[in-house]
Point group: C2
């Protein structure tokens, strides 16, 4: 097993070899050596040992698409260098200003979108609930139920139709896709304008339809879409190409940090609406749980209760992930059958949800109002907000279940988090509500509707926490609202496992730093408990979709392999000056996205498929009898390239897809001409020696955000590049499959 670097004389010590019977050197001979490079399209479908059949395709929406990698490496070719050298101070200043303008713009647009999404939801759901409650006040219960259930079904069907027919990639949370994108996975249509549109409208319909879904995840996806579209100058497909915004896509990530601006826009708009100028828009601010006045010293009993809650939350969170995985697998069979099936499934879940949310309050008995609340006129409340919903109850009583279920999800959470109302929700109400939202959250995520996971997880966590608080009430002095908050925390830790982000989100929800230690404790425990069973829900979805996500900690087996082990075969290379016909041929024949340029046995650089296509389209060719005459004429050719093409032409196109080889239209004569690849070749590609440990090569690949990594030979006398490693070559499934039986599982 100690074959790494074993070829250096003298070989490694015997003591290290005795542990395993077989060294990888001998194993290496057994591998099937592939002809052709690292692409995927020309491969046989049969899976062979040593063939990289992993993750070349991903499920985006409901379709399986080939996926590419993003390229954070600076392509240091002559075009770039000339551009860089020619940039004056004014241009650099201009560029800095643009950066800020874009940041501001993205922030403002996202803020506006968040606001209008909120206002739309509150108005649509408000009208729906208001009419329902009016019908009930007239004792027309059947009519009320019919109105409620059909309203929900229509909204659900509309959301599903949008998703099914316009943008399948808009279904679900969107966070897994954005995570993968930031990791460097460029799956088609994840950030396209149609996805953006469906994500917003579908999310409004889905939330208004009363589904147990959030709009937080979709909002994250929306922001990423906006930033990406603006950053790449709008999609070409939709003609949104503003030249002043066509930026190098490398800078895209910068703009993500600007969502801070969004909060300001959102807050000022909410401030504007407080006076009732926005229809049924409620007065709920951004802070859901204001506990500044809570006690901050805890007894040992309090802490024990919190630890118990965290452990149980972790267990239930892990169970949630396990069940969600199973349900999504079942749903994928249904969704694959066709668009109509998607809509049917969505409507079915909508009906179940409606029955639950209308039926459960129906079977819940009324509770007398607390005397103080009744006296203050705060119980029961008839309007939309307030804790104590009157639902078929006589005066002076309220229906606890209706306060939670016949409400928007935001208001339900606010009610659960509310402090100083320990006795408001009874044990049976909380048990029923918890069971309902936990199951509904599970069955709802996979339907064809933009569906965030935060709200279902927080809802079930908060009801679970409040329930535990009720049960342990006698033992601890903690408030029921605090219990609900910590329950939500434990569920977030147990399902999402993102400790820092969840901490920040809860900090924003509560606006109280003093709660941080308790929140951190609960998160740490619930995450640790849940990690014993399975992985986080988003990672699970990323894997299920087949997106090639590069983990921070790679596969342990990588330590036992060298870079050369992961190669599939020699790369397809070009000379510095190539016949146009040969280039076109190669582009058609392979699916590779990077080609080494080799001149006289030396690695001269790496050209990208997209740059080659731009070059071919520009027709910067020269007529030559053969390559031997190249040097002089080709200098003219290079000048031709600089004359015909600006650096902007090589910028990454928007999500409307760039040109393909089929878009290139060349005459017979042009095919016989020669093209100089030097001006567009990245002269400094990152390289590793073939006997470099694969684990360390992976660190280099991930830290620098590479797309192609050239592997160079250790010994002279061989081609200057023995292969190219791409993202797919670092996937755990592939690594583990390389030497079956030898590598540890």
């Amino acid at each position: 097993m100690a074959a790494v670097g074993a070829e250096c004389a003298p070989p490694e010590p015997m003591s290290a070899l005795t542990t395993t019977p077989m060294s990888t050197t001998s194993v290496r001979w057994e591998r099937d050596i592939e002809e052709g490079g690292g692409g995927g399209l020309e491969r046989p479908l049969l899976r062979r040992r040593g063939t990289n059949a992993t993750s070349q395709m991903a499920v985006v929406g409901a379709n399986v698409c080939p996926i590419e990698s993003l390229d954070y490496e600076i392509v240091e070719n002559d075009v770039y260098k000339q551009d860089w050298r020619s940039r004056g101070k004014l241009q650099i200043f201009h560029y800095q200003v643009l950066k800020w303008v874009l940041a501001l713009l993205v922030g403002s647009i996202v803020g506006l979108m968040g606001f209008f999404s909120n206002i739309a939801v509150e108005n649509i759901a408000g009208v729906k609930l208001l009419l329902t409650s009016n019908l009930m006040l007239q004792n027309r219960y059947k009519m009320a139920f019919l109105w409620y259930i059909s309203c929900n079904a229509v909204l659900a069907a509309a959301a599903a139709a949008l998703c099914a027919y316009i943008a399948p990639a808009a279904a679900g949370s969107g966070i897994p896709e954005v995570k993968a994108y930031l990791n460097g996975v460029d799956a088609p249509s994840i950030l396209s304008p149609s996805t953006l549109f469906v994500k917003i409208v579908g999310s409004i319909f889905g939330v208004s339809a009363g589904f147990v879904v959030g709009k937080e995840g979709p909002m994250v996806h929306t922001g990423a879409c906006v930033a990406s579209l603006l950053g790449q100058g709008g999609s070409r497909k939709y003609g949104f190409t503003w030249n002043w915004l066509r930026w190098r896509s490398v800078l895209l990530w910068r703009t993500f940090s600007t969502t801070a601006v969004a909060a300001m826009v959102l807050r000022s708009l909410i401030e504007y609406c407080r006076g009732g100028k926005c229809g049924l828009f409620g007065k709920g601010g951004l802070i859901m749980f204001d506990v500044s006045s809570q006690v901050t010293s805890y007894t040992g009993m309090d802490l024990s209760a919190v630890v118990l809650l965290a452990v149980l939350g972790g267990l239930l969170g892990a169970l949630f992930n396990f069940l969600l995985d199973r349900i999504l697998r079942v749903y994928s069979y249904i969704n694959e059958k066709g668009k109509a099936y998607k809509i049917l499934l969505t409507v079915a879940i909508s009906v179940v949800t409606s029955v639950c949310s209308f039926g459960l309050p129906w079977v819940t008995s009324c509770t007398p109002c607390p005397a103080a609340m009744a006296a203050a006129g705060r119980c029961p409340t008839i309007g939309r907000s307030g804790n104590f919903k009157n639902f078929r109850c006589p005066p002076g009583q309220y229906n606890a279940m209706a306060s939670l279920f016949l409400n928007t999800n935001d208001d339900a959470i606010r009610n659960l988090f509310s402090g100083g109302t320990d006795g408001e929700f009874g044990v049976s109400t909380l048990v029923a509500f918890f069971a309902a939202v936990y199951s509904l959250g599970l069955v709802t995520y996979g339907i064809a509707v933009p569906a965030g996971l935060f709200i279902p997880v927080i809802l079930s966590g908060a009801s679970f926490g409040r329930l535990l608080g009720r049960i342990l009430g006698a033992l601890t002095g903690l408030d029921a609202g605090l219990f609900a908050l910590l329950g939500a925390t434990s569920f977030l830790g147990g399902t999402m496992r993102m400790t820092v982000s969840v901490c920040v989100i809860l900090l924003e929800l509560t606006n109280d730093l003093l709660l941080l230690p308790l929140i951190m404790l609960v998160l740490l425990i619930s995450k640790t408990v849940a990690d014993c069973f399975n992985r986080g829900v988003y990672e699970q979805i990323v894997r299920m979709k087949g997106l090639p996500f590069l983990e921070i900690h790679g596969e342990p087996a990588m330590r036992l392999l060298v870079a050369g082990d992961a190669l599939s075969g020699p790369p397809v290379a070009f000379s510095g000056v190539e016949r146009v016909g040969d280039v076109v041929d190669t582009l058609r024949r392979t699916a590779h996205n990077g080609f080494p340029v080799i001149d006289g046995g030396e690695l001269c650089g790496l050209v990208l498929r997209s740059h080659l296509l731009v070059l071919l389209r520009s027709k910067a060719f020269v007529l030559l009898r053969s390559k031997a005459f190249a040097v002089d004429r080709v200098k003219t050719g290079a000048a031709e390239v600089f004359r015909k093409l600006a650096p902007f032409d090589f910028a990454k196109p928007g999500s409307g897809k760039g040109i393909t080889v089929d878009d290139i239209d060349l005459t017979e004569e042009e095919m016989e001409m020669y093209v100089d690849l030097h001006p567009i070749a990245n002269r400094s590609p990152y390289t590793v020696v073939e006997n470099m440990s694969l684990a360390k090569a992976a660190v280099l690949f991930r830290e620098l955000g590479l797309r192609h990594m050239c592997v160079v030979p250790r010994t002279p006398g061989r081609p200057p590049v023995v292969g190219i490693l791409t993202r797919h070559d670092f996937m755990p499934e592939y690594i583990r499959g390389l030497f079956p039986g030898v590598l540890p599982e």
Copy 2:
């Protein structure tokens, strides 16, 4: 200038060459080629073109020391691999638990230290101020002044003596050093136990002595020391070596994130002290500025005032940095003269400070108490806390200057930040106080005392902000306390330029997320304004000390150079099996810390000096007639290495310094034996090809936290390593000096 990659035929287009008359290819011949590698000790002192004379030494404390780089790269040698392979599940679990234990331990210790530092300062300063005010109540003013000034001078002298005689590295803030350490600069004694001790005690004395210094910066340094000492198993020099804590130093950084635990410890201790159990310890919590009740909507006039404040704050911050730089240069002459001079300078500054803080209230006239405050018995206050200090004033009046100056710095900030007290401090008081703290802050930082910059900057910023608030009072509805907070923000942005950290710190001080947009706006403006003039104060100090800090954005000239350009000459290399005498000789002759191991013309790995020394000390040698007999016997030699040495022996020693070549004691016979370097050679060093762009090589070097980067030749037939790049080879001064007159300045 387009020489990068120019050797590939055909050369670059003529159009790109016309901009400069001379290509670097021709320039390259003019360089002095150095013999010997990248070390510093064997170099002539005369500066020559192409010789890397930059930053090989740094000012640590008052001494100039050679500095080394940290190495975040995993040394994948056979010893490591064998260790990695032999680790069972239990050991991995053990390791995970240890990680958490250490994190908890570091957090708790830092929390305790923070608490005891607080309690010591409040008690020492409290006794001092109480006695002074008692003497004044008895009208013994001269006696009071004498007591006050001599108390301060004695405390100052004690702090300076500690710094001068025990740990010169403990002077100053410590943040520049920690920044540099995290960047990979391993300057000796920065994190040693003596530095830790002096930093804590000296900081207590310095703050108690009434200097305008903070204990925040020193506290950061203290935390880094604690984590480093625990992480490396205690310093060997002081015998603190606990085996169960001897960790691989690579993990050190993890432990920094644990300071969160510290806050909990600190808070619970403060909670404990509230009952008056801790002497004169005040009841000041961690939150200085509680503005939850402030208005959050601003008029255009308010915003204009805030923008004006931010611009002025940025200007004054940049001026602060400029003046500080000049003053530090003057001080360094004084401090170099000897330890007594250091103490004298400190005492002199102490006297000036005492005169200011006692004298200014003396010449300030008394102000009548606001009626409401007087009625509530809150004005004047005689005890230690409270806003309205009685200082030689008749009953019913207070001395505004004394409230600010005859107080601990924390209390002064709290008074300045206090809301709802707009009229408390008059314009003249604020002008005088601002001028005093701004100047005192400048002259105090360079003295031989642990001195944080946060407090002087916040104090002067807050008084400036409150002053501006007074002046613009009629135009805006903003509170004077809010003005003070924003003034402090603008000064922090103008001097430190660390937007995110400052944001977080201010968020913690105010515990109000709603203030964030205003704070961000002010920070952004003040930083942008100040950036037009000079760099941040910490970067300035890092540069002045000569610490080789790797910037995120490297020198622009790097784009025009290739990796080979920055090399100083061929490296000093070893064969896989070397004569012991030759190894010892080479270690004595050079100061290099990494040596390539070359076998039969192939790069076999890289050995570190520290690992070679451990190997030599273990005497894992074999007797050979010559290298030719190596293979068989040396296998025995490698087995010898595994028998005699555990992976732990190669772990980075604590800050008590590792072994040097002079510690190696070998007989004549042993010097003639042979040693096998394979087991300790890093088999996968990161390499770049010599014609890789230097800018991209720098990205690789910085992102992966490397110490040595091997440069391999582009063409066959040359030695497998043409040179080694280290941190010093990426320093802007060196890069700019490489091709004088050709590279842009």
